[in-house]
Subunit: 345 residues, 2 copies
DNA sequence: AGCGCACTAGTAAGCGCTTTCTATCACCCC
DNA sequence: GGGGTGATAGAAAGCGCTTACTAGTGCGCT
C-alpha cells in the first residue's frame, strides 16, 4: 500500500501532526525538523491522501467549471483559461479543474452542481447562457446558494446575474452591445433587408443578442426582419439560413447568433448559389480562433474569452477581488472582415 | 451545517449503516426501510460528503483527463467525448472529469499525475503526444505505474504505448498511415517538390507523421524535401510556411503537422501572394470541425477523435473491455477537399 | 533566582462515511 | 417443537488526515 502520514512520521521520528504542519506550511516548524520530514517524504515518495485531507479540513482543492460542451471552442477557451488561472499543479499547491459538460440541459446542470457540492469543491465557475424561465433560474440559484453556504466560492462567467444576491461574482458579456454594433455596421453599409439567425429560444444569450439587433434597427426606425431560432452550432446555422431565405428570398444580410452558426449559414448560402458577401453579407459573434481563416473571413463581435475566463478563475480562487458590486460587464468589439460588404445594388 | 448521514439516520429511525446501504445500493434493504430512508434524504436535502465517502471506501469517482491544452479543439473534442462517456451525473452515479492542461510540459504532466494520484482518481485518460526521450517516458511510466498500483485504471489515447506493461489500455492513432496517404495523394497529383511543416521535435506524434510522409516519398524513390519543425498551432504554421519557402521557393506543396498549422500556412502563402491550391497545395491532419469551412477547405487526414475519446472513456470506467492485447490502433481517413490540386505546370 | 513568554512538538479528538462482524427475527422442515 | 436458514439491521472499528489543546523547552527580564 501507499505510504501514509504515519509512515512518514515514523521515518522522520516525529508525530503525524508535525508532518502535516510541514506539508501544509501553516504552522511554524523548526528548520531541522522540517528538512528531516521533507527527506522522509521524498524517500517514501509520499503523496497526501486527498479525500482524507479534504474530510479533515472540510474543504477540497477542486474547482468546478460548468460548460455546455467542452468540445465547443467557445467553452474550451473559457475552461482552458479558468484552468490555467488555477495555478501550477505543484506538489504543495495545485487546484484541479473539474469540467462538467451540461449539454445545455437544465437537469444536468443541477446534477453537476450537486456533484460539485458533494465534492465540497473550493469554487465553481458557471458559464454559458441561462434559461430564461424563472422556475429554472430559481432552481439553479437554490443550488448555488447551497454551495456558497458550504463555503464554495461561486463565479458566473458570461451569464446573467442571479436574481438574488448570494455572494456570487458575476462577469457578464455585453451581448446586447455587440449585436447592436454588428447590425449598425450592416445598416451603415446600406443593408435594409436583414435576417436574424437567433440562438435557441428561452436562453439569456440568444435573447440579449436579438434584443441588441432589434435596438439597432429600432434606432434607425427600421422594422424587424425575419427571425429564425436555431441551436448554437454549425449544422443548425446551415438549416437556419435556408429557412430564413425561404421566409424572405431578398435578404441581403444574415446576422447570426455566433460564429459557428455563421459558418453553417455561409455554407448554406454557397450551396444555394449565393456568394458571401457579394450577394449576402453574414456576421458572427464571439470571434473564435478560426473565424478569421474561414471562407470568407468572418465579420464578428469579439468576446475576450481568454481574459474573461482567466479573471473568473482568479476570482474563484480568491487571487483577485470580485468586481465592485459583484458584477462586471465584458464588452464586445466589432471586428470587420470580408463576410460583410454593401448590398448588391 | 449541511446534513450528515447521522442526521438522515436519526430522521429515518435507522442506523447510519442502513442509510449508507440504501444510498449505495450494494446490500439488501427491506423496501419499507428503503423508502423511509429515501424520504429522509429528500426532506433534509442530503448530499453525500464525497471526501468522507472516498476516504472510507478508498476510491473516488473522479476521472482525470490529461490534455495539452483544453482550448485546442483537438483536445477539447477528446476531453468532451471522454467526459460524455462517463455517464449521467445522476444523484447516485456520476463520475466527474478532472481535466488537466499540461501545456505540453513534461513537468506539469508529472505534477498533474501526482495530483490525480492524490485524489485517488478512479481512472486516468492521458492524451497527446509523448516526449521521445527515454528519460521522460520512464518518469511518466513510473507515475502511471503508481496509479495502477493504487487501483486507478489508466488509458492512453492517441499516444504511443508504454515501454512496459503496467496494465494500461492504449488507443494509438495511425499517424504514420495518415501521413502516408496524404503524401501519396500529393504525389499522385503530380507534386515533386513537397515541403514538410512538422510538429515540435522530440514528440512521438511529430515523428510518426513525418516518418509516414517520408515513407511515401521513399516508396516512390523520391528524395526528402525541406522540413521545418514548428509547434502545433496556427501562428507557428504561419512562420513555418515562410521559412519553408525560403528554403525552397519552388515548392508546389506543403504538408502540415495538423490542421491548425495548415491554416497558418495558408494565411502565410496568401500573404506572400500565392494562391492555394493554384500555386501551392496544402494539407492538414486531424480534420477539425472547421477545417471544411476554412479558406480553402482543407484536404486532410481525419482522425475520429469523438469515437476514440468515447472509447477511451468507456475503457476507463470499465464499461468496455480494453482492446485485445491492451492496444488498438485507430486509423486515419484521407479527406480530399480543395486545398490540394495538381501543381502549376 | 524566579517567572513568564515565545517556540516547538506531541496528544488525541474528531471529520463523515463504509463495511465487517454480529444480532435479531421469522420461518420452515424433519 | 427445535434448530438450521435467510433476510435485515445495528454496533463499532477504522479510513488518513487536521488541528485544538497541552507540554516541554530555553531565554530574557526584573
Amino acid at each position: 500500500m501507499a505510504a501514509t502520514l504515519a509512515d512518514v512520521a515514523a521515518r522522520a521520528g516525529v508525530s503525524t501532526a508535525t508532518v502535516s504542519r510541514v506539508l501544509r506550511g501553516n504552522y511554524p516548524v523548526a528548520e531541522a525538523t522540517r528538512s528531516r520530514v521533507r527527506r522522509a517524504v521524498a524517500e517514501l515518495d509520499y503523496v497526501v491522501n486527498g479525500p482524507a485531507s479534504a474530510l479533515a479540513a472540510a474543504s477540497s482543492d477542486l474547482v468546478g467549471v460548468l460548460v455546455h460542451d467542452i468540445a465547443d471552442p467557445y467553452f474550451g477557451i473559457l475552461a482552458g483559461a479558468v484552468q490555467e488561472s488555477l495555478g501550477e499543479p505543484g506538489v504543495d499547491g495545485g487546484r484541479l479543474a473539474v469540467v462538467c459538460g451540461t449539454r445545455s440541459s437544465h437537469e444536468r446542470e443541477l446534477a453537476c452542481l450537486t456533484l460539485l457540492l458533494r465534492q465540497r469543491a473550493a469554487a465553481v465557475v458557471i458559464t454559458g447562457s441561462a434559461r430564461d424561465d424563472p422556475e429554472a433560474v430559481r432552481a439553479v440559484t437554490t443550488r448555488l446558494r447551497r454551495l456558497t453556504e458550504a463555503g464554495t466560492r461561486v463565479v458566473l462567467c458570461g451569464r446573467p446575474p442571479l436574481p438574488e444576491d448570494i455572494g456570487a461574482g458575476t462577469l457578464t458579456f455585453d451581448n446586447r452591445g455587440g449585436a447592436r454594433k454588428l447590425t449598425e455596421h450592416l445598416l451603415h453599409l446600406g443593408h435594409r433587408r436583414i435576417g436574424y439567425l437567433a440562438g435557441p429560444r428561452g436562453r439569456s444569450t440568444s435573447r440579449h443578442r436579438l434584443e441588441g439587433h432589434q435596438e439597432a434597427l429600432a434606432a434607425r426606425g427600421d422594422a424587424d426582419g425575419p427571425v429564425v431560432h436555431v441551436s448554437f452550432d454549425r449544422a443548425a446555422g446551415y438549416d437556419g439560413a435556408r429557412a430564413l431565405l425561404q421566409k424572405d428570398p431578398r435578404l441581403t444580410a444574415v446576422v447570426c447568433a455566433n460564429d459557428s452558426v455563421a459558418l453553417g449559414a455561409c455554407a448554406a448560402l454557397r450551396d444555394l448559389g449565393l456568394q458571401v458577401p457579394r450577394d449576402v453579407s453574414v456576421t458572427g459573434f464571439v470571434d473564435l480562433p478560426f473565424s478569421g481563416d474561414a471562407m470568407p473571413p468572418l465579420t464578428t463581435a469579439r468576446l475576450p474569452l481568454q481574459q474573461a475566463g482567466a479573471r473568473a478563475g482568479r476570482i474563484a480562487t480568491g487571487a483577485e477581488e470580485p468586481p465592485p458590486g459583484g458584477r462586471a460587464n465584458v464588452s464586445a468589439e466589432l471586428i470587420v472582415r470580408s463576410s460583410t460588404a454593401p448590398p448588391p445594388s
